[in-house]
Symmetry: C2
Subunit: 252 residues, 2 copies
């Protein structure tokens, strides 16, 4: 049985805590600075706001803001256990502990939304083969999709995820605003949104592309730009349409 | 039983033809200029490349490019049946027939991908109450989600669909390119993409938003911009991040 100390009380920590509950991994302690946030973990693990009171464990999962990873790992550098962070953007080299690794769940974790980790990739990396094995065993407890990824690849993957998730979600938000401006229910667009994600199961995004920019339908694009009142939305429309046209031309 | 003549041989026509096959609606003829495209319909309906040979029907569905709608409807103006177009962007007023309407399936139709219309909205509009009833009956044959929408609303909805579908799909394409540049499989991102679409079933896009722009994590955004080699992708990253930050500030 692996023992784990969770560092941090934010979204990632919260979801990992839940995910490990029904496994053979034991979360023996949670550390956080914010005692209100920390209390939520208190019914099933020890909790502490004092970093010097962190107990010994096989693995320390540092699920804190990117900026705090370095200093937290400084505090753990005399521990024997494996210290891993959960960030997509930070190199393994920023960890100051003796044994180090990365445990990056590639998923968008919001507090109000439950996550089934089982098919979500967990990207792992470690400073030694032995620790990689240990980490893989840990990750397989919550996911069937465990991937070895280098720090360089992870940086790019994290960036790609910003486009695929954050920016996509913002497109939904703009679409919602446009609907509301004409008192149309955003519900109307949901089947289209689901089909958009569904299509790329079996089509490349390049093949799945439709719309005025793909057809180079200049008249419709002009009409759309006139229809947009918000200068920021106009700019977004223009630059993405330009990029779609370029992709199309590259393929001709 | 309603009889329908389909005008046009593109994606919309193809998918509507398939969708009406198992219904009580009879597609009695398909018209198109391109005889190769037309042949595919020939095994189950009459076909013609001569617009003067279009036979009498209850409804004429004009599923052609936006630019061709006006002139096609000129050719149908002596018909007694109801003439409808399928475009999101064109007003009902552009139809030159006596009886007119709109039959707009709000879905992204690509040739290689089968569409189940049953839950997809079909947005209808007609010049008279009687024709609206007729059109509703027709639409209910293929979808449980039939919506009355004005031309003004439809224009906005079409624009919103460009953001929700076309632009979203392009975000996937950029993400794919970024993955490939580091030899990472795009498959890794697919669970995240499906979760992104799934989340808005029960969360508003504004609530579902995550990522560096939402957190105003300037350092990560800077690193991402350095990571992007393509100037067009840089511009897209900047403007969408700016727009996400603005949404966040509006909510504070």
């Amino acid at each position: 049985m692996q023992s784990v100390v969770l560092i941090g009380t934010g979204n990632v920590s919260h979801h990992l805590f839940e995910a490990f509950l029904d496994t053979s991994v034991q979360i023996i302690q949670v550390y956080g600075r914010n005692s209100t946030m920390l209390e939520k973990f208190g019914h099933r693990a020890k909790i502490t706001t004092n970093i010097d009171e962190i107990i010994d464990a096989d693995v320390y999962i540092v699920a804190v803001n990117d900026d705090a990873i370095k200093s937290i790992s400084e505090n753990l550098k005399h521990k024997y256990g494996l210290v891993v962070h959960t960030s997509g953007a930070i190199s393994i080299a920023e960890l100051k502990s003796k044994r180090k690794g990365v445990f990056y769940p590639l998923q968008s974790l919001t507090k109000d939304s439950k996550v089934d980790f089982s098919n979500n990739p967990i990207c792992i990396e470690a400073g030694s083969d032995e620790d990689l094995k240990l980490l893989k065993k840990l990750a397989l407890q919550v996911s069937n999709n465990v991937q070895e990824i280098t720090s360089e690849q992870r940086k790019k993957l994290h960036l790609a995820a910003v486009f695929a998730n954050n920016f996509t979600n913002h497109m939904f938000e703009i679409a919602q605003k446009l609907c509301e401006s004409e008192k149309i229910s955003f519900e109307l667009l949901k089947p289209l949104i689901h089909e958009t994600a569904n299509k790329i199961r079996f089509l490349d995004p390049g093949q799945a592309q439709t719309g005025p920019a793909k057809r180079n339908d200049v008249l419709t694009m002009q009409r759309h730009l006139e229809e947009l009142n918000d200068p920021m939305h106009k700019k977004i429309y223009q630059i993405i349409s330009e990029s779609i046209k370029r992709s199309r031309e590259e393929k001709l």
